[in-house]
Symmetry: C2
């Protein structure tokens, strides 16, 4: 009677976290493999194996052994609910309680699992049923729909074209603070004024000032023309 066979009943916070991680990885077109998931979850691979087995028994994921995992519709539904909670909470903390966008992630990380549907609804209503959180991350609707992202990033926006920052795909506190200092936050109007070859830095103009931005970082900033 190994551990894995006993696991698996309720949708606990831990289960929600696994589903969320799987969802986000699948969405980033990754193959969801044991080690990767283990890294994300800060857990050893063997723990992932056990949990995945449990999730499969609950009908929340399908598991091709030695290949990868993917969410079933019910798994995805739960993941989207949790993500909705997370992003609503982030936005609420910023809008209603004066948090900055670099402070809200950890807080939302625990709150997302414990707010009731009623509280979720009140928060959403208070915010006017918003579509994106402070990072521009799309907030799933109640029925699991997601606004689509713009196709351009600062790394491929044509030169001299005006655009607007829609989303910043990063949750590193220091980097977010840096970007906020530059004015590179969702809503900002920007323009690429220079771009070095071989994936070199991108020079971006925000308002009157220009700054050189690492290519890797530029790719994380989603732009709408």
């Amino acid at each position: 009677m190994t551990t894995a066979e006993n696991l698996a009943q309720a949708v606990t916070p831990v289960v929600e976290d696994y589903l969320k991680a799987i969802y986000l990885m699948e969405r980033a077109h990754m193959q969801v493999k044991t080690v990767l998931l283990a890294e994300r979850m800060n857990v050893k691979p063997s723990s992932v194996t056990a949990m995945v087995k449990a999730l499969a028994e609950m009908g929340l994921v399908e598991h091709e052994p030695y290949y990868g995992v993917h969410l079933t519709p019910s798994g995805e539904r739960i993941a989207l609910e949790v993500i909705r909670h997370h992003r609503l909470i982030e936005l609420y903390l910023v809008e209603a309680l004066g948090f900055t966008w670099d402070e809200v992630h950890e807080e939302a990380e625990v709150l997302e699992h414990v707010i009731s549907e009623k509280l979720e609804a009140r928060i959403a209503a208070h915010l006017g049923n918003p579509v994106r959180d402070p990072h521009g991350d799309p907030i799933p609707t109640l029925d699991g729909a997601l606004p689509t992202d713009p196709t351009h990033t600062l790394a491929d926006l044509p030169l001299k074209t005006r655009g607007r920052v829609v989303r910043v795909c990063d949750q590193h506190t220091e980097r977010l603070r840096y970007l906020a200092g530059l004015g590179l936050v969702p809503g900002a109007r920007v323009q690429v004024v220079a771009r070095e070859p071989f994936d070199g830095p991108v020079t971006v103009q925000i308002g009157k000032e220009s700054h050189a931005l690492d290519h890797q970082l530029a790719r994380k900033i989603l732009i709408e023309k």
Copy 2:
């Protein structure tokens, strides 16, 4: 090697809940005995025994076997923090998100364990460092001080004396809704117009209307002259 001997490390939400329950019972001048605590925690007495042993090893309670438990200073500190969280959250949900006083208890019951000190501080600031929650329950300050309650209740307020409701010691949803319907909420100005003998009903005047109130219930409504 019995279970109890292995228990006991971190201050988990469950530990916080036990400490809170013990605190509230001690405060109500009860002897904190195993069965009573078990009832409060919705748990079997044997579980309480195990947990109490663990709490004692953590230095959070002192345990006189077969007699009772009481909190050490560090146990009390934790209990007060959790209660502060709970009551701040209750008040916040009412003030900022339009909850009614009968809806907030369950929500606060889980949130109390997961809000950070930073979020606690913002909530407190946003509310203007309040002293009582929507039920009039006193909110411990950061250093663990508690405002004192009035000594009178509706059950012993002298006839024809004007008073103000300070606190309603009840968390039963339906009863709270009933009391709110009568206008018997913290802040309300009241007066006892009649009182039947042998712990019979108390007739209370709120505004223009009078209502008969069960003696047991009247004792839970704390009044300041």
